[in-house]
């Protein structure tokens, strides 16, 4: 039996969330997925803040039935908007948990100051939340969540409300705190970098269900949802494979060099896509005629969003972008060599996790 075993079912008129999740101490599970996929619902149900329609949660040997109030669950929670109590200073905010769990005033403040030191804001103990920057406030709220020594730490987009530079340094710190944390961390994020750098497992939610699980590397290399494909910047198409031909859902046929049978995903990097004004001749079989939707800088390259019936990404050099006159509305040909196409099964990678 795993340290955390959860089957969370929340049925609402508009949406259903039905998610299974297992994790061991030290695991950091990133939960990603589009808006409305059920990420926050999953967190709030685990915390006991909304009732589950069905399912069960077992953590560290305790079965958290619905009658277990949030107060009894020994959870730490970090919110996007920090939600530090505005009338308490930083130390009192962090001491709130220990005090509510029965520790004395002095002991709680001692624990609080220790945690503030540990997250690097020990000198701000006397500041009210209104006097803290976003990054400082989020450090305090991380200290507040950890100060009760929880078994399960829930983080709801902790970095997404912060400035990019602040988020960057806090991401590294957060990774350190979570690595040192002895329980299970569940990190809801919409940022692929968070998932890649902080988590050791990724749970991809789509429409209330688990669409994919795996290590960050697996998920990034072989995305199975449009959302993750977009997040990691890969072209991912779905189809049926017969030998090295893949019949895509949009009717076109792609050539690959990997023989496979049945439902597959094909993916290729935007950099592997060549753009020309005239129809490519010769041996390239994988080609599409499409319209340029947008052209944006992407690192040293230029990323072109194409509409070929499907949405395709292509990276070209600024020079060729100028030469081809790539502006929205222009029609171009896109081609990709069969050797650049990666094929993977629709089911093989799914649900494979280190602990399954």
């Amino acid at each position: 039996m795993s340290y955390l075993e959860a089957h969370v079912v929340v049925r609402r008129p508009q949406h259903v969330v039905d998610v299974r999740l297992e994790a061991e101490p030290g695991d950091v599970v990133a939960v990603i997925g589009p808006n409305g996929a059920g990420k926050s619902t999953l967190l709030r149900a685990l915390a006991g803040l909304i009732p589950m329609t069905d399912g069960s949660v077992t953590c560290n040997g305790d079965r958290w039935s619905d009658t277990w109030a949030p107060q009894d669950r020994n959870i730490g929670m970090v919110f996007q908007q920090q939600l530090l109590f505005p009338h308490l200073d930083a130390a009192q905010n962090v001491a709130f948990g220990p005090r509510s769990r029965g520790a004395g005033r002095r002991a709680s403040l001692g624990v609080a100051r220790e945690w503030l030191e540990r997250v690097g804001v020990g000198d701000l103990a006397d500041r009210r939340p209104a006097q803290l920057s976003g990054g400082q406030a989020q450090r305090v709220s991380i200290a507040r969540a950890l100060a009760t020594d929880p078994t399960l730490l829930l983080l709801d987009e902790p970095l997404s409300a912060l400035d990019v530079s602040v988020a960057m340094s806090l991401r590294i710190e957060l990774a350190g705190h979570l690595a040192a944390f002895g329980g299970v961390s569940i990190l809801v994020t919409h940022d692929a970098i968070d998932a890649m750098t902080i988590a050791n497992r990724v749970l991809v939610l789509d429409d209330g269900r688990v669409a994919q699980t795996g290590t960050p590397h697996e998920v990034a290399q072989r995305p199975q949802t449009d959302h993750v494909a977009k997040l990691v910047g890969l072209n991912v198409l779905r189809g049926r494979s017969r030998d090295t031909d893949v019949n895509l859902d949009d009717g076109t046929v792609m050539a690959t060099t990997t023989p496979a049978e049945g439902e597959v995903f094909v993916s290729f990097s935007p950099a592997a896509v060549a753009l020309t004004l005239d129809e490519p001749t010769g041996s390239v079989r994988n080609r599409w005629h499409g319209t340029v939707r947008s052209v944006v800088p992407h690192g040293p390259a230029v990323r072109v969003h194409l509409d070929t019936g499907a949405a395709l990404l292509a990276d070209v050099t600024p020079g060729s972008a100028t030469r081809l006159g790539l502006v929205p509305g222009r029609t171009v040909w896109a081609a990709v060599k069969a050797t650049e196409v990666v094929v993977y099964g629709a089911d093989t990678a799914r649900l494979r996790s280190p602990h399954a």
Partner: protein, 268 residues
Amino acid sequence: MNRSESATLGRAPLRLLIPAGLALVLLLAPLTALVSRAPWASLPERLVAPEVLDALRLSILTATVASVLCLLLGLPLAWLLARVEFRGASLVRALVAVPLVLPPVVAGVALLAAFGRNGVLGGPLRDCCGVSIPFTTAAVVLAQTFVALPFVVISIEGALRAIDRQYDDVAAVLGADRWTIFRRVSVPIALPGIMAGLVLGWARALGEFGATITFAGNYPGTTQTMPLAVYTALQADPDAAVVLSLILLVVSIAVLALLRERWLGGAR
């Protein structure tokens, strides 16, 4: 919006400026007249006249006790309405507002019906404990509490509702039970709103006339509060009524200013 921005929309139209000006005149003229009609020469000795001091002391005492009662009873009721979902909540909310629109005299008659010597509650109370409320200082407090409570409940409920509910969630996850959340999170965050509600209630209690004279009578020293003293003085000595009114005006403004400074102005 700043001045220049609104100026670009054109001049404020006269058809709005004229009624706005009339409203100001209507509000300020009586107060100005009150000040100008004051018998300034005899003011010092009138101020310390025993019946004035008695009425003032009684008014401040009863209004303050009523406010404390409003806080002790109204804060929990406001919390219930703001935080607990229960059947009939909207009905309760509507009932709470009734005394707001009730003519105070009717409130007085209703209080007599309930707490009078033969009232629904007053009868049994007299039989078992030998306590009779009407026409006592307690009746004054009860009448004031009755009329002020809706103000307090409604404004505190608003203040509690204005708090982000996620603070409750945070506190619960940190291990706080509902009483602790109420005490250590909701009340402190809503404090400016709670104090504003209490000031409203205090002012309403201080000015209470109709319910008081109906339910508590008009006995100098025990039930004759300032408004009642003003009314009584007006029959015999209009100058005295002006003086009493001035005192009420000054006390009201002073309390408002003091609490604004402490709770409403400085908090932001």
